[in-house]
């Protein structure tokens, strides 16, 4: 009956509308002039322009990687526009009242809270930065946050206001040469969020950035940098959506996290880029580099719920540099129709007694392909390091694929590495049990899938756990008959 189960699943993409707005969009093409243009648009200092140009040079020497278990036509980087901004943003609105109402309506439709009063009245205690194509539209609660000494602003602004921090940490975790898409990002990155939590401060609110691609033929190349100073604590969440378009669009982001001694960063992602239609037409190529450095006694926790994108290539990683530092990776990746995901993590143990935990839940439906790829490396210095990995795959129907590629390199005899993996299916028997108890087949599938993901959902901030559950339901929602 797997055929029947399959028919209960269809993707209905609620965020697929287009915002009709005038924008200033650079013609397609990638060259030094484009980079100079972007840098000039943001009024960047000379050092940053040089840094971008250097990255571009490196990018031109590199080859597109082919090792991932994904297939897509070769990207022509000259067909993409690297900068697009709503025209109304040119006057740099100083407050929400000055922002184009059409833009605000977009976020309203997406359910993103931009009015501080509404947020305060609601349950979610969250400050937002919203990035629309290549620019940040608004950042809320900045005053409240600054009372605590927390800096939360677009990175383009941080370059001017906190140049010493940006200069010190930008590229310190993901250098220009790191990989093909990271090099591209270093060259053309447009906007993203910058966060600094001072020593000993517990960030009083959840911080969140919402990325939206709107314009046709553009790519989004955001850059996020989070620095948690000694003994501080922050929880950050990013979300992303894009309109339904027939052509593929590129999203190549870089996220760098720095957790200094005794600091803790919790980074959660709900990724819902347009996945393409049921025939595999359109959708976002999501090629992302996310990495964290954890210093002594620091803790970094990545939680991701990946339901969107046509192709996902993403490995949020931890470099456990300091002794006793902790890295965690909790992932739900759901693919449906013709989606392809190759995602996982790297845990690089350098410090003594470092610990990492990897819990990965892959769900494949339709004709999709879902791969977990993970590296656990215990360096010669990593005395007493430990890793636990659990990697579960759930198949819905018999036309999809699940793959696991765990790599283990242990160079210290005292290191302990445990790996568990399972593959299961949503069985006819389970469906029959649910239906015999009066439960709709759609509801049954989503309940079973949610149950499968439970261990990961409980790691999300509470407000978003509910959101993520709903998102899975929508991604799995289907028509009967």
């Amino acid at each position: 009956m797997s055929e029947e189960i399959n028919q209960y699943i269809k993707s209905e993409y609620a965020a697929g509308f287009i915002t009709d707005i005038e924008s200033e969009t650079l013609p397609p093409g990638l060259n030094e002039d484009v980079i100079r243009f972007i840098s000039a648009k943001k009024g960047e200092p000379e050092w940053l322009l040089e840094w971008r140009l250097k990255a571009f040079e490196i990018f031109m020497e590199m080859e597109e990687p082919t090792w991932a278990h994904v297939h897509y036509p070769k990207i022509n980087f000259q067909d993409i526009s690297y900068y697009s901004s709503p025209k109304s943003m040119a006057d740099k609105p100083q407050s929400l009242d000055e922002v184009d109402p059409e833009l605000l309506r977009t976020y309203e439709k997406l359910g993103i809270p931009l009015h501080e009063q509404e947020v305060l009245a609601g349950v979610a205690n969250v400050a937002m930065d919203v990035v629309f194509d290549s620019v940040s539209v608004a950042t809320t609660f900045r005053e409240k946050l600054s009372e605590a000494g927390v800096i939360f602003m677009p990175i383009s602004e941080a370059v001017h206001k906190h140049p010493e921090l940006v200069k010190k940490y930008l590229g310190s975790v993901v250098p220009q040469r790191d990989n093909y898409y990271a090099a591209l990002n270093c060259a053309v990155f447009s906007d993203g969020s910058f966060v600094y939590i001072p020593k000993g401060v517990r960030c009083p609110m959840e911080l969140s950035t919402y990325f939206r691609i709107n314009e046709q033929n553009t790519g989004q190349f955001e850059r996020t940098l989070i620095i948690a100073d000694e003994g501080s604590h922050v929880s950050y969440l990013e979300g992303c959506t894009a309109p339904m378009r027939d052509e593929n669009q590129l999203h190549a982001a870089v996220v760098e996290l720095v957790a200094l001694d005794n600091a803790e960063i919790k980074y959660s992602t709900v990724q819902n880029w347009y996945p393409g239609d049921e025939n595999g037409k359109g959708g976002i190529y999501n090629f992302v580099t996310k990495r964290a450095v954890a210093h002594t006694n620091a803790k970094v926790s990545w939680t991701q719920v990946e339901t969107g994108s046509a192709v996902t290539w993403k490995y949020p990683s931890c470099i456990l540099k300091g002794d006793n530092s902790i890295g965690e990776f909790y992932s739900v990746a759901l693919t449906n129709n013709f989606q392809q995901a190759d995602t996982g993590t790297k845990m690089i143990h350098l410090g003594k007694n470092t610990k990492s935990t990897i819990i990965s839940k892959g769900i494949s439906a339709g004709k999709s392909q879902n791969a977990y790829r993970g590296l656990v490396r215990m360096n010669p210095s990593a005395e007493g390091a430990r890793n636990f990995t659990q990697c579960d795959s759930l198949l819905i129907g018999d036309k999809c694929g699940a793959h696991t590629f765990p790599y283990i390199e242990s160079k210290h005899p005292s290191a302990v590495i445990e790996h568990e993996a399972t593959t299961s299916t949503v069985s006819d028997d389970q469906m029959f049990l649910c239906q015999q108890r009066g439960i709709d087949p759609e509801k049954a599938v989503s309940m079973i899938v949610n149950g499968f993901c439970k261990e990961v959902f409980k790691e999300l901030p509470m407000e978003f756990a509910v959101e993520a559950g709903k998102l899975l339901e929508v991604s799995l929602e289907g028509s009967v008959g």
């Binding site: 009956m1 029947e4 299961s424 069985s427 006819d428 028997d429 389970q430 469906m431 029959f432 049990l433 649910c434 239906q435 015999q436 108890r437 009066g438 439960i439 709709d440 087949p441 509801k443 309940m447 079973i448 949610n450 149950g451 499968f452 993901c453 439970k454 261990e455």
Partner: protein, 249 residues
């Protein structure tokens, strides 16, 4: 309550039910016995509308309605309950969550509002107690790691919560220890009601000492080959099925 006339059904191109007739009135308990592979579980599946079980002839009227055109979930909401011979596990989905979804769906069908979580929890705890299951079972995944006997008691607990009109118990007694058998039987007996009927599928006459049937049927070769009162079960226990099957053939 239930009227089955000349029911033919096949699975995977194989004819299993070949002209089965049963009439069940409200409040009655009918026991069905018969050799392995006779089609007893198939009957439960066909009545529940399980995918892949194709009715090729005959009719089934349940509570005045022809149910053969209804989906599985619709039949369930109409009050047809099947306690499984082999209850399946659903890891990660808590029993409580599952039961709430189930009870809410049935209530919605009856035009009732969903129960609030607190009242539901109270109700579910009560039913657990009735079948001697610890309350922890509500938190655990559906049948996840339950022992054979615990799974069967869990089925009866669900039946008590859903208050169906027709309960089909498929070998609910198999795998139960003596005490659990009594608990389950008491559970079933507590649900006896002039408006509720039972089909009890079993291989052992012992269960029928506790749950006393109004009728006993022998299902063999896809149809009812002999029917009688509760004393028929004793006769079967003594003589086996050979004498009937030979006579019927």
């Amino acid at each position: 309550m239930l009227s089955i006339k000349n029911l033919h059904a096949k699975v995977e191109e194989k004819d299993i039910l070949k002209g089965l007739n049963i009439e069940i009135k409200p409040g009655e308990i009918h026991a069905i016995m018969g050799p392995n592979g006779a089609g007893k579980s198939t009957l439960g599946n066909v009545l529940s509308g399980r995918e892949g079980y194709e009715v090729t002839d005959g009719e089934v009227i349940f509570d005045g309605k022809n149910i053969l055109d209804m989906d599985t979930e619709e039949r369930a909401r109409e009050g047809l309950f099947l306690a499984f011979q082999y209850p399946v596990e659903i890891p990660g989905v808590s029993n409580l969550e599952f039961l709430k979804a189930s009870v809410d769906a049935v209530r919605a069908h009856r035009g009732q509002d969903p129960l609030d979580s607190v009242s539901f929890l109270k109700l579910a705890r009560e039913k657990c107690k009735a079948v001697n299951l610890d309350q922890n079972f509500l938190k655990r995944g559906v049948n996840e790691g339950f022992s054979g006997g615990e799974k069967k008691r869990n089925e009866i607990m669900q039946m008590m919560l859903l208050e169906p009109k027709l309960c089909i118990l498929d070998e609910t007694d198999s795998g139960l220890d003596i005490d659990a058998l009594q608990v389950v039987a008491e559970g079933v007996n507590s649900q006896r009601d002039p408006n509720r009927s039972f089909i009890v599928v079993t291989h052992y006459q012992r269960l029928l000492d506790y749950i006393v049937p109004d009728y006993v049927h022998v299902l063999a070769g896809g149809k009812i080959v002999k029917s009688g009162g509760k004393e028929l079960a004793l006769e079967l226990e003594e003589k086996g099925y050979g004498w009937i099957e030979n006579g019927a053939a």
